[in-house]
Subunit: 373 residues, 2 copies
């Protein structure tokens, strides 16, 4: 196994597949990158057994790849990545010099790394799942930014540790929820689809990070067990989370007793100023809403209390008093963006629907907290 | 106690004295800022009992300070600082509204914090020590950047946890050492002095951070127990470290068997590329020097090995082979700056003197490691 290649190009590819590799790998071989040098290409694979990333480098790309001999080896990803990143030459040589010893060399330096035999790398099924759709990079980014934050982190309810993709007809409904709040986003698809899967948040975040600005859209393939994102000679595969995702449409309120429109920045600022008070590490705020005045209060016997009035705020409907997690509201405002935000109240102590009045494709639902006064 | 003030000005002053405050304060009152509102000024004090920072805000500065009534209170620094930072108004009111309850208010919001009675704040002696000299901000910055990194962190030898300031005549010798390396810097003083003190590294770092670009020089007062830096209506006081500092002049070699001149960037790059190999978390490099070629090698049975040649390097003297801590060399190069660096070798396995050939006011000494091959 021997080849030479443009260092920067090679580094970017190593970096790409390294995203899948965990430092806490259960299998020693999985802490490495499987490098398979073929006649006209190099296939790099990284995996933590949940996420697998495989990319192929072809001769003739802008990478000056010259393959002298073929072969296959697994190399510890962190060392390989560090050496290739730090080398100061434009091109590097990579060669299997002795059994499992791999030499990476520049004109002045030789770096030898102990590898692992390729036969020890686990077999990973990268067969393509059946359902296919296309996702724009912008949509994928929006899904990650607008739903992942609301997902749970509780091993007792693993299904909430992912974002649910529910396709019905030409609409994809993406939901993230930790059972106290829900982030819900609609995406239009080109072709009708019918599936209901839950993707681990980590996988979604990593695939989004892997896709650079040169890529407009990715091909997505999914079945009930796994999902693949295909882009730039790369397969990004993730296992799905087993289990039935809650039917979120039942949670979204559609009748309201009151509505508030408020400047997003102002509401975010007022809530942020109450963050110095936390009760059991939770940032509890109390809202007192009437058509006369809306106040956000907070109190702790130990630290002190606060009381601030919203100025750029219009409120219609019943008087309301409730407590909720201020961080949840701040997260929702950040995810929505927009100058103005609308809060719709379904009942006293009932779920609150937060949305951008100009774009209702994304909805945030927050459940108030039981308060003790 | 009641006053109003420009919010940003007040925040900067709170921030300044907060630097002295530790989150792990032994005394509850020391987690707060002591705010003493007098007729024409406000005195803010923060302390962790080792470092004390006291700053005075006078009426008539560009701060719109209006004092309605005097008084004294201690307020938890992290809450005060967070509220004053986040408020969105240009001016704020601060008032003791009930026993120890302090109200900070803007036009739309009221924030009440539970304070602590001023009588519970410990007495801190801020009397001025006897010896006086002036230190330029640039010199202070250079001392921090060029000596602190070399200091020790071992409670067994507390004196090495500080930078030694040894004044003899019109020269101040500043030394940082962890006993395996020494950073040694000479500063010219305006007037002759005679003292030998050791300042905790934390204090030096904090005082340097506290001094902004508007301040050219600070007045320094010191005796055997404490040091004060005076600038911008602020006293920055630190306890000194007890104990005799080693006589560093004995360590600095002055006879050499070999000398190397090398491009600083290249040497730093070559050493950095060996950093993937660590033995018991230490970055051990092996240097092989001769007039023909200089190599930097490293090896580990587990990970692999490396071997790189220095190209922009001139070496005169005996052939040498030794091991040393690569991180120490990198730290020294970073502290020295300069395009070229000179390494002077006192003996085989003897201390190495590293300096910038154009500026010998700063010296770095590194002791090689015993190698087992």
């Amino acid at each position: 196994m021997k080849f030479s290649i443009n260092r920067r190009f090679f580094f970017n590819k190593i970096n790409m597949v390294s995203r899948a590799i965990s430092v806490f790998s259960p299998l020693p071989a999985l802490s490495g990158i499987w490098m398979d040098v073929r006649k006209d290409s190099i296939v790099l694979t990284g995996s933590d057994s949940n996420i697998t990333i495989q990319t192929t480098i072809y001769k003739g790309e802008m990478n000056n790849l010259e393959i002298e001999s073929t072969g296959s080896i697994v190399i510890e990803s962190k060392y390989l990545s560090e050496i290739v990143r730090k080398l100061d030459s434009e091109f590097i040589d990579v060669e299997l010099i002795d059994y499992t010893l791999v030499q990476i060399s520049s004109p002045n330096g030789k770096f030898n790394l102990n590898g692992i035999q390729a036969s020890e790398y686990p077999e990973i099924n990268l067969e393509r799942p059946e359902n296919h759709f296309v996702l724009n990079r912008d949509d994928l980014t929006a899904i990650v930014n607008q739903t992942v934050f609301a997902c749970g982190n509780d091993d007792q309810r693993p299904v909430l540790k992912g974002v649910n993709f529910h396709a019905k007809g030409k609409t994809l409904y993406c939901s993230g929820s930790d059972s106290f709040r829900l982030a819900y986003k609609k995406i239009e698809l080109n072709e009708p689809q019918d599936f209901n899967i839950t993707i681990p948040t980590k996988s979604l975040i990593e695939v989004q990070r892997s896709i650079d600005e040169t890529i407009d859209a990715v091909d997505v393939y999914a079945d009930t067990k796994k999902i693949q994102f295909i882009f730039d000679k790369t397969i990004f595969q993730s296992r799905l989370i087993d289990g039935n995702y809650p039917i979120v449409e039942r949670i979204i309120p559609n009748q309201f007793i009151a509505e508030m429109r408020v400047d997003t920045q102002e509401l975010a600022g007022v809530i942020d100023r109450t963050a110095f008070i936390r009760t059991d590490k939770i940032h509890v705020i109390k809202m007192e809403c009437s058509e006369m005045v809306t106040r956000i209060k907070t109190a702790s016997t130990e630290i002190g209390n606060s009381d601030e009035v919203l100025t750029d705020c219009v409120y219609h409907g019943d008087d309301l008093r409730f407590s909720c997690n201020g961080t949840f509201v701040t997260d929702a405002l950040k995810a929505l963006g927009g100058e103005k935000v609308r809060l719709q109240f379904s009942a006293n102590q009932g779920p609150i629907l937060i949305s951008n009045p100009d774009d209702t494709s994304t909805l945030m639902i927050i459940v108030p907290m039981r308060s003790h006064d």
